[in-house]
């Protein structure tokens, strides 16, 4: 029996609205949960997204055609009532709540449940079908308290006044959350950033996210950055770019850092388990909370989460969408 919501490898098709959620190929009508490249692509005819997400897409892909959707506002497309509610993942991230034929479907996109000073907190919406991510859906993934991870970073910084701490953080979301988290922990020194972060940090600033004093690390002599924190995209950690830095301690902020071998593979000396995704307890706790009749799992460790649902007498299916999950994100 076919449902009015159809999972395809390239995205989720909402038939009565003739629209695709987070399609990985250009579509006439796209509903976009958030700005990360594996969810938001350029080239759609028209994209419905939050104001913040549209701004991010404009910055990344130069896309113009978009319909801004405010959190909590209802709109209709075909016979479907649609509402965007906060997902707590990155600035502008939304879950998409769809209602049709007396049935409510929630598509989470990516989400987390922890406090994040750069975006609105996740809002649980009870539903019939819950379409969830599963990036960290294994019980080994239990993210520690973010504040204590940031304290470890500051501890390493203060113990090595002649060096700098170079933190690899995904350019959209993680970098800004890390910087805001450092500010919240009382670190008010200038933070140096890689050129690739500059415009995204400015965009966050224009939406009222306070990041304090940021300086571009490019073109500075090494000694200017002694005793400072430098934030760069993960790809720059072991690349030529980092040669200019004063004897950096290499750190990386990611949920993957929970696994030793993952950290060692990337030559990370100071792994920081800071994630923008729900951990195992948050994924399973959220499913319990929204109590769906059925859980669909878009991407990640889908087998383990489906197994958990089954053993807790809940229906689940793995969708296996393509092109999701960038290891640098997380």
């Amino acid at each position: 029996m076919s449902h009015w919501i159809e999972p395809h490898p390239t995205g989720i098709y909402v038939r009565p609205a003739d629209a695709w959620i987070d399609p990985s190929v250009p579509r006439e009508r796209a509903l976009v949960t958030h700005g990360h490249a594996d969810h938001a692509r350029g080239g759609h005819g028209r994209a419905w997204a939050t104001r913040e997400t549209l701004a991010i897409m404009a910055l990344r892909y130069g896309t113009a055609a978009g319909a801004a959707v405010g959190y909590g506002e209802d709109f209709r497309l075909g016979g479907v009532s649609i509402r965007y509610v906060p997902a707590g993942h990155v600035l502008g991230s939304a879950q998409i709540v769809l209602e049709h034929a007396g049935e409510r479907v929630v598509v989470t996109g990516d989400y987390k449940r922890r406090a994040d000073p750069t975006c609105l907190p996740f809002e649980p919406v009870p539903c019939d079908i819950f379409v969830t991510e599963a990036t960290f859906a294994l019980p080994v993934f239990r993210h520690p308290d973010t504040g204590s991870e940031i304290d470890r970073l500051l501890g390493a910084l203060h113990a090595n006044p002649d060096r700098c701490v170079l933190v690899g953080a995904y350019a959209l979301g993680k970098a800004q959350r890390l910087i805001a988290g450092l500010r919240a922990r009382g670190h008010h020194d200038a933070i140096y950033i890689h050129g690739a972060l500059e415009r995204m940090c400015a965009l966050y600033g224009s939406f009222g996210v306070e990041l304090g004093e940021l300086r571009l690390a490019t073109g500075l002599p090494a000694k200017a950055m002694r005793g400072a924190i430098v934030v760069a995209p993960p790809s720059a950690l072991n690349d030529r770019w980092s040669r200019r830095l004063p004897d950096p301690i290499t750190a990386m902020a990611s949920g993957w850092m929970r696994i030793r071998q993952r950290a060692r593979q990337r030559n990370v000396e100071l792994p920081l388990v800071i994630s923008d995704h729900a951990d195992w307890d948050e994924l399973t706790g959220t499913i319990r909370e929204v109590a769906p009749n059925e859980t669909w799992i878009t991407h990640g460790r889908d087998e383990a989460l489906a197994h958990w649902c089954m053993t807790h007498q809940m229906r689940a299916r793995a969708l296996a969408l393509v092109g999701r999950e960038d290891e640098d994100e997380g």
Binding site: L138, P139, V140, F141, R142, P144, N238, D239, R240, S242, R243, R258, I259, R260, Q261, A263, R264, N267, V268, E269, L270, P271, R301, E303, A304, H307, W308, T311
Partner: protein, 523 residues
């Protein structure tokens, strides 16, 4: 337990040797007895608890976590102890501080196999994830944090500004948790008495010869043998063998240890011979069959019988000969030889040459696979630790060279992690294909490295994970000490000490050497 688990984590993530030493030193200074002693024992591989089998740990976790989820997790994480440490169900993810390392060690010590799982589980509940990981590694034996026993002892010595060789002397006398050692290190107690236990003495090493010529009246010449440097320490009751790094390698060469019963310390080169190799000292390749083995089979000892070619006599009985001139020690060594089994021990012969030029001719003319070059030893030199200027020189045989084509490149480690500094190179087959013949990551200057790195980045044709395949256009002149048959490589060849001698930008790749040509150099 918290400071110990933090130390382990630090050692796992820190790449530089100095960074590791600093971590160990800080821990040794800042941790009370007897915890730090147990930690030192664990790091040096002297803490063998083995209270629990891996299968028992699997059973423990399956009783607490859905077995399917455990299997999926283990597949993902890889390491059993790490998986269980992360999975362990527990309310608050904190270390409540109730368990010290000593408590853990004492509890694990007294356990039978039957009671171990319950006791272990009770301890797991008091720890955080890194603490549980450390506990499981201790309980199953084997920390594997990538440091040698010598490095751990060096870290200990650094903590208290001691000479590591002084620590080395006492090491085998003491038992964990080494409290008298720490008390002595902190100046609170007398130096422990090493008594009659065998221990390692630091080797005397040689500088490369750079001078044009040298006076053979002042220097004696002998062959430099291509085996592994070994120190034989006998007390009359017990004999131990130590490698150049000070590791105890007695277990790998029981045939040698059994054949020596004297009370003396000797310096020599460990080699293998036998009918298998035509009765003579064989190449390093043959010796490799015997290296790094914990247990040696009778067949192995029969096929590759080991012997030691002696260079020097350091101690005879209570008599420390190290301050005496080399000529005196050499006489004593020649006399000492009489009591040794000639099947297992011989003496490194002196090279008789009328002058330096004649010696140079002899060096150039030798084709012996087991000869690496010539040693020059000042006739009046005492035996001193390390490399001291103008006492001993090594004068290696001129390396062999071949023109090879760069095929693949990989990033280096540590300071070089941003450079493509490890190169795989190949030579031509008769069918006109390139076959990899070796890998090198040294020999070039910093400037050349920058150039090579740029070459790799701009000439990449393919990527396989961390490996880049490059355009087969760059000729590298590769120098190597010798080349041997090898079953491990597709080309059937293995180079010893390959390094990049020159970058031949002038030479077209098609004119590089052939695999057949290389094979003719096999010794």
């Amino acid at each position: 337990m918290r400071s110990f688990s933090q130390l382990l984590d630090g050692l796992v993530y820190t790449r530089s040797r100095n960074g590791k030493l600093a971590l160990i030193a800080d821990y040794m200074r800042g941790t009370p007895d007897p915890d730090r002693g147990w930690a030192l024992a664990a790091l040096t591989g002297n803490l063998d608890l083995k209270a629990v089998k891996a299968s028992a740990i699997g059973d423990m976790i399956r009783a607490r976590v859905d077995p399917m989820l455990f299997e999926m997790s283990r597949d993902y994480v890889g390491d059993l102890a790490e998986t269980v440490a992360l999975l362990w169900p527990k309310g608050e993810e904190t270390d409540d501080g109730s368990l010290t390392l000593s408590t853990v060690v004492e509890r694990l010590h007294g356990l039978s196999r039957a009671e171990a799982p319950a006791a272990l589980a009770a301890m797991m509940d008091h720890l955080d994830a890194p603490g549980r990981f450390a506990l499981l590694k201790l309980a199953t034996g084997g920390l594997r944090v990538g440091i040698s026993a010598r490095l751990a002892r060096t870290g200990f010595a650094r903590a208290f500004s001691l000479d590591v060789d002084d620590v080395e002397q006492l090491w085998h006398v003491l038992q964990p948790p080494y409290t008298p050692l720490f008390h002595w290190a902190e100046g609170r107690a007398e130096r422990p008495d090493p008594g009659g236990m065998p221990f390692f003495r630091p080797f005397m090493l040689a500088h490369p010869l750079e001078a044009e010529s040298i006076d053979l009246n002042a220097y004696a010449a002998e062959w430099k043998w291509d085996g592994i440097r070994v120190q034989i320490v006998g007390t009359g009751r017990e004999t131990r063998l130590y490698s150049r790094a000070g590791d105890d390698i007695t277990g790998s060469f029981p045939d040698i240890a059994r054949a020596f019963s004297g009370d003396a310390v000797l310096d020599g080169e460990l080699l293998v011979k036998g009918d298998y190799q035509g009765g003579e000292a064989a190449s390093f390749n043959a010796l490799q069959q015997r290296l790094g083995r914990k247990a040696v089979s009778a067949k192995m000892m029969n096929d590759y019988p080991a012997f030691v070619r002696l260079y020097d006599l350091l101690l005879e009985g209570r008599d420390d000969l190290r301050p005496l001139p080399w000529t005196v020690r050499r006489d004593r060594l020649e006399t000492f030889m009489a009591q040794l089994d000639p099947e297992r021990f011989d003496i490194s012969a002196l090279i008789e040459a009328p002058g330096f030029d004649a010696l140079a001719d002899l060096r150039a003319g030798t084709r012996d696979a087991a000869i690496e070059g010539v040693m020059l030893k000042k006739r009046d030199s005492p035996y001193v630790a390390g490399r001291k200027a103008a006492l001993w020189y090594k004068w290696k045989r001129d390396p062999l060279t071949a023109d090879c084509v760069m095929m693949y490149a990989q990033r280096g480690h540590g300071k070089r992690s941003s450079y493509y500094s490890d190169y795989t190179f190949g030579c031509w087959t008769e069918e006109g294909e390139l076959l990899p013949v070796g890998k090198a990551y040294s020999g070039f200057t910093d400037e050349e490295l920058k150039w090579l790195d740029r070459f790799v980045r701009t000439n990449t044709v393919n990527r396989f994970g961390p490996v880049r395949e490059v355009e087969k256009s760059l000729v590298l002149e590769v120098a190597f000490d010798s080349i041997h048959d090898s079953k491990r490589h597709k080309s059937g060849l293995a180079m010893r000490f390959p390094r990049i001698a020159r970058i031949r930008r002038d030479k077209p790749a098609s004119e590089a050497d052939t695999v057949e040509g290389l094979r003719r150099l096999v010794s």
